[in-house]
Symmetry: C2
Subunit: 446 residues, 2 copies
Amino acid sequence: MRSSEESALLTDFYQLTMLAAYFEEGMTETAVFEFFVRKRPECRNFFLACGLEPALDYLENFAFTQEEIDWIARLGRFKPAFLDWLASLRFTGDVDAMPEGTPFFPHEPILRVVAPLPEAQIVETRLINLLQLSTLTASKAARVRLAAGDALLVDFGLRRAHGAEAGMLSARASYLAGFDGTSNTLAGMRWDIPVYGTMAHSFVQAHVSELSAFEAFARIHPAATTLLIDTYDTEAAAEALVPLAHTLRAEGIALRAVRLDSGDLAAHARRVRAILDAAGLAEIKIFASGNLDEYEVERLRAQGAPIDGFGVGTRMNVSADAPYLDCAYKLQEYAGKPRRKRSEGKATWPGRKQVFRRYDEKGRLAGDLLTLVGEEAEGEPLLQPVMRAGKRLRAAPPLSALRAQAMASLNALPPPLKSLGAAPPYPVAIGDALTRLAQEIDAQAH
Amino acid sequence: MRSSEESALLTDFYQLTMLAAYFEEGMTETAVFEFFVRKRPECRNFFLACGLEPALDYLENFAFTQEEIDWIARLGRFKPAFLDWLASLRFTGDVDAMPEGTPFFPHEPILRVVAPLPEAQIVETRLINLLQLSTLTASKAARVRLAAGDALLVDFGLRRAHGAEAGMLSARASYLAGFDGTSNTLAGMRWDIPVYGTMAHSFVQAHVSELSAFEAFARIHPAATTLLIDTYDTEAAAEALVPLAHTLRAEGIALRAVRLDSGDLAAHARRVRAILDAAGLAEIKIFASGNLDEYEVERLRAQGAPIDGFGVGTRMNVSADAPYLDCAYKLQEYAGKPRRKRSEGKATWPGRKQVFRRYDEKGRLAGDLLTLVGEEAEGEPLLQPVMRAGKRLRAAPPLSALRAQAMASLNALPPPLKSLGAAPPYPVAIGDALTRLAQEIDAQAH
């Protein structure tokens, strides 16, 4: 059996029941779906688009295996002709999307699929699954980067991410959003993200003494030693390692950093900094971890805690203060006719849409316009062609290039949006033609 | 490249730096690690153990590929002899664990690993990753089941679960915790979970009219038709489908249910129920979905809303009110000596532990005792041997059997723990020998 990350069967069962109907009814004309976020949580001033490359991988490789088709057949709910057709189904459509790392706002599509209805429909579940997770964690990680200034930031969250793919894609998203690296070794291998790692408390505990653990580790990893000093008593450990640090330095081994992982991190950092500085060990940096997020990082920096780097895990990876987005992938047009869902609280803007972004004289975001494709407008059109007839128009860019672009975009945010507190909403105007179209559709319905 | 679900490299990089040190130092004596949750969030009265079988799969198949070893080598931080040894590393240890579906409480280990130190260490990250996710969602899903009484419950959360594995393991966990099925088709295939699915708004929108969408769907799926009636106007759709339902009934096609997905679900359900009943269609059930969780299900049932089943997604799958657990996998013993971490706020109980559970005369949970293995105690010992020398002691039980056991366990919870509000803590006593051991270790440290 294939891994769930690769399987076309990783989809809501209603996609299959709907496809059976589309097949019987011959409903295979062109459909347009768009992915967007409906609402902004209080604790997010913007979203950072992420997940496009994994989504394109999925679309390029979409196919059922014979094993999967056989299993569907055994459910006894589908006709053989449909199953044969399903076995041959591939994604042959077009995709336009915002580049990964682009800040965006509610109701702005970040991805548009134009494809025969069954193809555009069946990929719904997994596209949402991939785009939500990546955008969710990139948007959270961007806040951590904005709070951390130039401090070193390492993703520590694999263990409490929600499963394997969440650990992978949150490592990718956080690096794209400005982290410096990850503890997730496989993510390092897959996307060339710098990997960071030192020691766990168990390493200290397994040795006869804390100091013997430190010494053994430093001698085995002379070029990259960070010592975890909070297993028993943080300041006692800092005092104890002073003579060891001098001995090692005499042998040419420089300790790089100590890590604090519990207690009042600001107070410990101050005391440890003083101990190290007094001992002539100013070059040893202080790295902090343990229940961190953007709020805590901001608080520590506001207190002037002498911390050079942060390991940020769980709360970033699961986006703890907003662990899901109110996002959707909605039909906007079928067979040339715009469509609009009008369910209470869930109404959508119909048709194929584009987002134009204006910048002020300082290069900062100054306002967006949501338009119908083809409407003339000022500014930069954010959705760009990325796939035609089921094939990527270009290879996946290196993640480091996407990261550089994301950093530039974050830098161009208006200052209120960069703060952690709730900012006034960023202006997103609706184009005239789009407004008229929505009104026309509503009028026809009555 | 292997999928991330299978890769031994899906681990924190510090596991590799520590293993290199253990290898150099010859530290391969037996280590004991236990997985437990430190603290209970306000919104959970108990946890439901889940994730053991995926964890055992991982341990049985643990091995690096040559491609992975070659990548590690290229980092230039490890010696060839270590890499050769790493390539041959397998998990050869023992595992004892609580059966999946067992309710448990803070500081009670649900899984113990006894293995040579490097083996027990390197599996830390992925074991936490698997056990947290499954336990998190099973514990949330159990609350939804307790709130829903006998109503039909279907997992709808794949699209907003955090990636592929989260969608899979939350489908598994929610079924184990009492859901009736899932929309996740691949989870249905992998674990024989009943799959449910009907239609999306896009299906209705793609047709020339709502009614033509309903009729086409019913004729193509005569045995299992649920119609989504909130795309435009819920009550209008209910009125409109009455004549269709009678026509279809005359042809032997019985509509099974209608689905409501937006607005005031209780009010819509009442009005739709009245429309259907007045038309002699009492057999058509009402199924509700949209932003549901245990609180909303309880509220709808308390209002007497005539809803027969619930599709519960996002908030359950991501455990939105508690999206992570304060859990850990900690070294408790090495080379025959008990170990205790004393970091502030993170102190652990040392040694190999067992949990004894007592029941009252009604078969309800009456109190637990956390003891050292070997201590005599009343009650049922909850941790049982499941793996010896790296091999399962028995095949994975069918998920339906685990589900039945979990249902019986939930039923045996004391009534206050079954409520959604915060209950007084369940009594977990600490055995005398364990208390003494912790004191001895602390005394030695001073």
